[in-house]
Symmetry: C2
Subunit: 260 residues, 2 copies
């Protein structure tokens, strides 16, 4: 059974997609079999892994609606050990389409259960990229996941949303998924020349203690250039600061998983 | 009757809130009476204008639900000519609460109509800060607005979402608000040391021509520090690059409005 990690934070632009793509790639590089599941209607994780929008025939939308299995929607990437389940703009309509459906929060979890029953797919980790909102799509991801990994941009507005996110996590844990854990908080776009980054980092470590990863992802222009080439930064520029940080992050994640 | 401008883009973290706060402040500084209407459950615009979460008694949620008038929800700020209508975390539930309501897209517009009928409030511009999604809240903003101003971060993923946003704008214009115009596109977090910024800027000007504002907002750390002091950057550091750019932006907006 794969470990399912939801990468979620309703604050926009904090590095959810960038973390899903590059943590996924780094885990694949160290031999784990990884599926990046794109649950954001924007489709940035699919694009960043080289799946162009015209070739997304079966997507996470069909999986959520029960019209396709996980196996049918999975696509290979050019990277060994790394697969992607692309998203579709139709996901933006899921909130309304599932409004009156009783098991609306469990659609994704049920898809994973059906996948296991039919023999499953050989995957060690599923990394779910969530949209910037606490809508039915993100709730499905949190209900299907073993844990949540929270990317946190080192900026003031990013701090503000944390308490709302934690309330939602506790609500999901209380009623939909009692096993949901906080896998950790990862500080992103850290800039050591700017005192705001240090203040936010100190503040978050004060609140979340050792849930905060030691590895911080620095702000690094190569990270933001990589998606325009349809490649993870580890492939685009293996030696840059951003790639090294995501490789360290994958190592730290494996260590934390082993300690459980 | 006030000019209503919705600041919208479903891509997260592109500078919607920062533009609502600072464009609003700059317009107020040049003598316009401005209301910043916070329609994002995160409440960043309310915080950035110094309205702490405990004092948000009547919010845009109650206005959307028809439980309060615009006049009742408006709060003064310490800045002359600038008022704010704060948001509430309850807005996150609006999608479900309005799912089966026939006039769900017109709630905000109707609130403005009722406001006019009761003599209105002395406002020249309403600047609406939208959440990072094309949900019922953003649709309400686009339906109530005269125009949409699109902040666009000079990054690759930000380009990807533009066509989805324009499709939604055309849908709203076609069925809910025929008068909706594209007020313009504003390039944000522009970094002239980074060739990606220049590429994105050139690409956007190619697509949108003179809809793209000449004024670009540079990436400037003072802009991201200001919200932690509950102040717009124009008050926090009047002479920094960020403040000057938002003052130029306000001037260009007034010029464009006059040309209509
Ligand atoms: N470490 C980094 N250094 C530089 N740029 C980064 C870094 N991480 C992310 N970015 C850039 O910042 C922007 C926001 O990141 P990303 O799109 O991954 O955030 P997100 O949380 O997925 O956004 P959304 O809320 O829209 O889904 C992107 O343009 C991305 O390329
Ligand atoms: N010109 C700028 N220079 C430096 N930092 C900026 C600039 N504009 C915005 N920021 C910072 O970037 C982050 C994202 O900006 P902001 O929160 O305004 O975007 P948003 O589109 O409103 O995000 P969301 O999608 O979550 O609503 C914030 O931390 C903000 O302080
Ligand atoms: Mg994303
Ligand atoms: Mg915002």
């Amino acid at each position: 059974k794969p470990r399912i990690i939801a990468i979620a934070n309703q604050k926009g632009g904090v590095g959810k997609t960038t973390t899903a793509i590059n943590l996924g790639t780094a885990l694949a590089a160290i031999g784990q079999k990884v599926l990046v599941l794109d649950m954001d209607a924007q489709g940035n994780a699919s694009t960043g892994l080289g799946v162009d929008s015209l070739s997304r025939k079966v997507t996470s939308y069909e999986v959520m609606m029960g019209e396709a299995t996980i196996k049918e929607a999975i696509t290979k990437t050019k990277i060994p050990n790394l697969m992607v389940l692309p998203s579709s703009v139709d996901l933006a309509g899921a909130e309304i389409e599932l409004a009156n459906v009783s098991n609306r929060a469990f659609r994704l979890k049920e898809a994973f259960v059906r996948n296991e029953q039919s023999g499953g797919v050989d995957i060690d980790y599923v990394i779910i990229d969530c949209p910037p909102s606490l809508n039915v799509v993100t709730i499905n991801a949190l209900t299907a996941a073993n844990s949540i990994l929270v990317p946190l941009q080192c900026e003031f507005f990013a701090l503000e949303g944390l308490s709302q996110l934690m309330r939602t996590v506790n609500l999901v844990k209380g009623s939909l998924n009692p096993d949901l854990e906080i896998q950790g908080v990862v500080l992103t776009m850290y800039d050591n020349r700017n005192k705001l980054s240090e203040q936010v980092a100190a503040d978050v470590r004060g609140h979340f203690g050792d849930k905060v990863y030691t590895t911080m992802i620095p702000r690094n222009v190569r990270v933001s250039e990589a998606p325009s080439h349809g490649k993870p930064v580890l492939i685009y520029d293996y030696n840059c600061q951003g790639s090294r940080a995501y490789i360290r992050l994958a190592g730290e994640l494996i260590q934390r998983e082993r300690l459980k």
